[in-house]
Amino acid sequence: MRFLRTSPIGVVVGMLAAFTGAFAQDKQADVATVPIAYITERIAHVPLSLVEPILTDAGVQGARLGIADNNTTGRFLGQKFVLDEAVVPEGGDVGAAFEALLAAGHRLIVADLQADDLLAIADLPAARDVLIFNTRAPDDALRNDACRANVLHVIPSRAMRADALAQYLVWKKWRDWFLIVGAGDGDRRYAEAIRRAATKFGAEIVGARDYDAGSTARRTDTGHAQIQKQMPVLTQGEGYDVVVVADESDLFGEYLPYRTWLPRPVVGTQGLVPTSWHRSFEQWGATQMQNRFHAAAGRGMSERDYTAWLAVRSIGEAATRTDSTDAATIEAYIRGDEFALAGFKGLALTYRAWNGQLRQPVLLAAPRALVSVSPQEGFLHQHSELDTLGFDRPESTCRLD
């Protein structure tokens, strides 16, 4: 373990796995090393439900498992993968931690960061020749006007999520939606994606309401008494098939199911949720992944663990196929036509050339069981049905291809 003092305000960034070893050719004959950096800002996320654990290591556990999987394969090819982890405390200096990684020679970066931090590091002059995998920020802007040539997006965008949900709701003929929007920036953007999906797939927003939940405590004695009076009022309206909730911070959405004015399902950020991973998911070999992750991390796999695993596996897959540990060779292969990643979704995952977004099916999960997987049958596309989710080439304002 080595510590770097990286900024005037004294943010300490812990680096697991010594840099010194990561870049040297391994002492054993013919073993070449692929160093991968993982950078995260540790932002506390407290789920509203007491049943859900508060995770402090979401993301990094997936990256570590990806390294382990890469190394199982690598030992047959004389390749070794090493992860350097940079953990920045909330409000810490992400840029400084990132520059420390670059100074140590890193070129392949897994970024578990929010959109503003992601853009800040991607725009640093020293970052021009690095490849950054966005495993956390779902912002649609990053796939459009604010796209960057050195960033690939592993995590599905809000638009992909909203489209995945919309396809299922339209298939169910639940076309009239009542939209409840929280007060956070992310909530408003999520709601924008929902509105866009409604237009795209022929649904209608028949009512919409903003809701500022303030700062709600997780625990309140006899709390349900108030909640069961508030939620019906919040959803008072007529003629809707579902309530769509946009509450990314998980402040009130969990209160909506069973309490809506009309007896209707709740979908969106709570209830039936579009996500790239869910602990109930077991198809296409996902059981093996769930078991392997649980054995390694001692808990269920979260979405950020999955996207971090995919990022590390993207690098591993490219290193295997090119038989190379050179970062530039690896990047060229990932961006090329030959690249295909198996991610327990039943088909090959690839990166969109125009904005760097990973094409992928999106799960629709209830709290304790998988409900469906989008794209839904019948939503056709001239190139890939996966491109019915999110910003397709003609719609995206990003032109990296």
Binding site: D69, T72, T73, F76, L77, G285, Q288, N291, R292, A295, R313, E317, T320, R321, A340, L341, A342, G346, L347, A348, S384, E385, L386
Partner: protein
């Protein structure tokens, strides 16, 4: 149309009916049972409750027992085929999915999906002889006709591992396309065919040079390429045909084993995965996981002649002569 097909099927069946009564066994992954089917009447005669999530199945050398990978119970169960009762279990390592029996009838080589291992089990003593570390998520298991070489495929590592059965050491690793599911040796032992589910191909590997001779791809008009997912592979011993199950495309490809040319695609049930010949290879049975049935293919005519409803999510199929 359907009536015509089944009438034609009945006529065909009458022609190709094998002389001795065979029995077909199908493992049903979701309903935790084994369906027993009379090979002559093609009627279900019994359903036997077994352990959790039965997948790979194979017959003992003397045909008295069926070995069953009860994946979620982390064991291999032994089903007495006379009494149709589970009479024992064997150690298997965690999450056994597929296995292959040595041509001499012992040992059994088991792929453990969860711990990157191939476990070698003595079926008579019920003991573990060896564990061979392989790639991530081992699944496909093929053994050479002389029993000297075992090939295991690992689904996330994307390799076919060649294992010397005398030393239990890996002798070669051949990189194939994404998510290799199945390995099958040709009758002469000179090739091993490896399917890649996500890659959408079958690699034919020369067992001497360990080089890929060719990669067979598939194209079905009107079917999205992503839906073509090769899994089960069956090769006729006479070297004529290869059959490849193509998953959610609901087709089985028929390939010329010599020219590697795809001759045609047979429409079977939904999400076809595993394949099993009868004794004289006049018939091929396919497990269709999403339509809960098996399809019966007449090998000489290359035609689907019947489908039989089984349990939920049928996975493996074997035929007892």
């Amino acid at each position: 149309m359907k009536t015509q097909l089944s009438l034609a099927g009945a006529a065909l069946l009458a022609l190709v009916m094998p002389a001795a009564a065979e029995t077909i066994y199908v493992s049903n992954e979701k309903s935790n049972d084994i369906t027993v089917i009379d090979g002559e009447t093609l009627e279900v005669t019994a359903t036997v409750a077994v352990g959790q999530r039965p997948r790979g199945i194979t017959l003992s050398h003397d045909h008295k027992f069926l070995y069953i990978c009860a994946s979620d119970d982390d064991t291999v169960e032994v089903l007495d085929l006379e009494a149709l009762e589970i009479v024992g279990t064997m150690p298997s390592g965690p999450d056994p999915e597929l296995f292959v029996l040595h041509p001499d009838g012992n040992p059994l080589y088991i792929a453990n999906e969860d711990d990157n291992m191939v476990t070698v089990v003595d079926v008579e003593k019920g003991t573990v002889l060896a564990e061979v570390p392989v790639g991530v998520e081992p699944e496909g298991m093929g053994i050479s006709p002389d029993g000297a070489v075992l090939v295991n495929t690992s689904e996330t590592t994307n390799m076919a591992h060649f294992i010397d059965t005398a030393t239990h050491q890996i002798t070669a690793n051949v990189l194939v396309d994404n998510r290799p599911r199945f390995a099958e040796f040709s009758g002469d032992g000179k090739q091993v065919w490896v399917s890649a589910e996500i890659g959408g191909t079958v690699s034919v590997i020369d067992t001497g040079t360990k080089e890929i001779i060719t990669k067979i791809g598939f194209e079905i008009p009107g079917v999205q390429p992503e839906a073509i997912q090769p899994v089960g592979v069956a090769l006729t011993d006479d070297g004529k045909y290869a059959f490849v199950a193509l998953g959610p495309s609901n087709r089985v490809a028929v390939i010329d084993q010599q020219s590697f040319e795809v001759l045609e695609y047979l429409l079977v049930g939904q999400r076809v995965w595993q394949l099993g010949f009868n004794a004289d290879q006049s018939r091929l049975y396919t497990t269709n996981g999403n339509s809960n049935d098996i399809s019966v293919i007449d090998v000489a005519d290359r035609e689907v002649v019947k489908s039989i409803t089984v349990g939920q999510a049928p996975w493996g199929v074997v035929v007892k002569p």
